[in-house]
């Protein structure tokens, strides 16, 4: 059988994820050099992918297991197991906008425009509340959108809230809290049950 394939989300989760696997005896010095995408170590194969891609790799079985933020996981809408929350990478997905939208004023607005990197979660959030929102998918610097009139609101992850404040935005509602999650492909869960159980117990 091929080696166990583990997908790790790049970005802010990567450092702590590497530490976990190093403490389990894997040699991952190469993973810190971000140009390398596949690293073989101690009978396992690590692949480094963009956070939004990790759930996809795992759902298709290209990776057996993975570590990814719950925010990217929810956005991906993939059918995978998520047995462990790992405690690091805490952040929150929030609705934010200019201060004049406080006091729920924004819920009164017809033709709301929302900029986000999380179109799926955003759509669910607004339609569950009966609000018709036009969702504008942007690929970075979401805070810019309300400042230049591209959108009324944004949906984005916040850590300390500093970026929001610096751009004159305030948090209006919290959609969910997120942290790093250990996810497992459904086929691998059965086909490689022992390896995965062992790994989970060690983690």
């Amino acid at each position: 059988m091929a080696e166990l394939t583990i997908a790790l989300a790049k970005g802010r989760l990567l450092g702590p994820s590497i530490k976990i696997f190093e403490s389990l005896g894997y040699e991952l010095r190469d993973a810190r050099d971000s140009r390398k995408l596949v690293i073989a170590s101690n009978g396992a194969r690590f692949i480094l992918a963009k956070p939004m891609d990790v759930p996809i790799y795992v759902e298709y079985g290209a990776a057996d297991v993975g570590i990814v933020g719950q925010d990217a996981l929810r956005e991906s809408g993939t059918n995978v197991y998520e047995p462990l929350a790992l405690g690091y990478g805490a952040c929150r997905l929030v609705v934010a906008g200019k201060p004049e939208f406080q006091n729920a004023e924004w819920k009164m607005l017809a033709g709301l425009r929302v900029a986000t990197q999380y179109p799926r979660v955003t759509k669910q959030y607004f339609s569950a509340r009966g609000l018709s929102a036009e969702i504008i998918e942007v690929y970075g610097s979401v805070e810019l959108a309300p400042m230049v009139g591209l959108a009324d609101l944004i949906v984005d992850v916040v850590d300390t809230g500093r970026t929001l404040r610096e751009n004159g935005l305030v948090e209006l509602d919290e959609i969910f809290k997120s942290q790093a999650a250990f996810i497992v492909n459904r086929a691998a869960h059965t086909l490689r049950a022992n390896e995965i159980r062992e790994l989970m117990e060690k983690m």
């Binding site: 059988m1 059918n79 998520e82 047995p83 462990l84 459904r186 086929a187 691998a188 059965t190 086909l191």
Partner: protein, 395 residues
């Protein structure tokens, strides 16, 4: 669409369908023939429901997700028709309206296209081929075990020997949730957390629901109740029905052991699929090299009653495109033969179209045998001319 692709519509193909020809078409028919022959040998005869019928009958007990995924259209009288989205519901209609007074059990198999309006992803297409069986009129552990054993035998018949099945019982969760007046949202969130084995989210939900302690423990441990038959001993049964569902699984596993198939089963009590009509055992089959199930099925005792007669049934479907993907994944990794040295046999075999790998690392015998096993080769040709057949079934 874009600037670059300005093909007229009559040359494009909609999302989620495919043209098959040459090898792919031939391989598909080969798979279908092998499956049909296997089903027939177990006493199943073919059933061919229409490609479309009234949406009302197909939507029966289909569950919100499947109902949403149906292709619907109108006939000239303005009635809503739908393309079949599976074979189980049409078969239930045929049995409930026409065959209910026949000697039971009825054994049917089917092969054909089904249509679902889904986002093409992870092995999902909008038109895909299902091959499966329905065993109707028997609510016994023997019937459950026959369905699982036949699914495994069918995979073997098409060369997929390295399968594993998950086995659960939808009735266990139903019994454990009985008499809880959960809101629809809570119920959905609870089932979703269990299905995804999301233990932390499940614990949070259960805390908020303030259930009695035993029930809370029974539900909270579900994400960890997977593995061999020991799992059944750890399940907490809060009522007789829950207990009966566990006993049923025990009986099914015992029957599978008689077939010599119990080792291929992982019990997984957290499985609860989105298909509304399942009432008993649930199973899914996986093979090496493919990240999603190639076979899935279960017991549905209330579906035929919707069509007028209360008759229990169990069945499964194999995804034909998915097993073809698995076969292809296999073909690309497994050589037919590993030869220790290059000789005339190698050249002749390659000329016949066999895949022959020659060792270039001068491995010793043990290392080469291990390598051949890992690669899934069917034979090793040793330097002295000896041919060693490898038992690929046991891998």
């Amino acid at each position: 669409m874009g600037v670059m692709i300005s093909q007229p519509l009559d040359k494009q193909l909609p999302h989620g369908v495919a043209d098959l020809f040459f090898n792919d078409a031939a391989r598909k028919r080969t798979v279908e023939r092998a499956l049909a022959e296997t089903f027939a040998r177990w006493g199943y005869s073919e059933i061919i429901p229409p490609m479309f019928e009234y949406h009302e009958s197909l939507a029966a007990e289909a569950g919100p997700q499947l109902r949403e995924e149906m292709y619907r259209f109108f006939d000239r009288d303005g009635r809503t028709l739908a393309l079949r989205a599976d074979f189980t519901i049409p078969t239930a209609r045929i049995v409930g309206t026409k065959l209910f007074d026949r000697a039971m059990p009825l054994r049917f198999f089917y092969i054909g296209s089904v249509f679902r309006y889904e986002e093409p992803q992870a092995g999902v297409r909008r038109e895909f081929t299902q091959a499966g069986v329905e065993l109707i009129g028997a609510n016994t552990a023997d019937a459950d075990a026959e369905a699982i054993a036949l699914a495994m035998t069918a995979l073997r018949a098409i060369g997929l020997n390295d399968f594993r099945f998950t086995l659960s019982n939808a009735a266990y969760l139903l019994a454990t949730l009985r008499d809880l007046a959960l809101t629809e949202a809570d119920d959905a969130a609870l089932r979703d957390a269990i299905r995804r084995k999301n233990a932390p989210a499940l614990a949070q939900l259960l805390d908020a629901l303030k259930l009695d302690a035993t029930r809370q423990r029974a539900l909270a441990q579900l994400p960890s109740l997977w593995g061999n038959a020991d799992v059944l001993g750890r399940a907490i049964c809060i009522n007789d029905d829950a207990h009966a569902t566990i006993e049923r699984l025990r009986a099914v596993v015992a029957r599978l052991a008689q077939f010599g198939l119990a080792d291929f089963v992982t019990l997984d009590l957290a499985e609860n699929r989105n298909m509304a009509y399942y009432t008993g055992i649930l199973f899914e089959g996986f093979v090496q090299g493919l990240g999603f199930a190639v076979a899935s099925g279960g017991r549905y005792d209330n579906l035929i009653a919707h069509f007028g007669h209360n008759i229990p049934a169990v069945g499964f479907a194999i995804g034909v495109e998915r097993v073809m993907m698995a076969q292809r994944a296999r073909a690309s990794i497994a050589p037919d033969v590993i030869a220790q040295v290059y000789d005339a046999r190698v050249e002749q075999a390659r000329a016949r179209g066999q895949i022959v790998e020659v060792d270039v690392l001068n491995r010793d015998d043990a290392a080469l045998r291990e390598y051949a096993r890992v690669r899934g080769a069917r034979a090793i040709w040793w330097r002295d001319g000896h041919v060693e057949r490898l038992d690929t079934d046991k891998r």
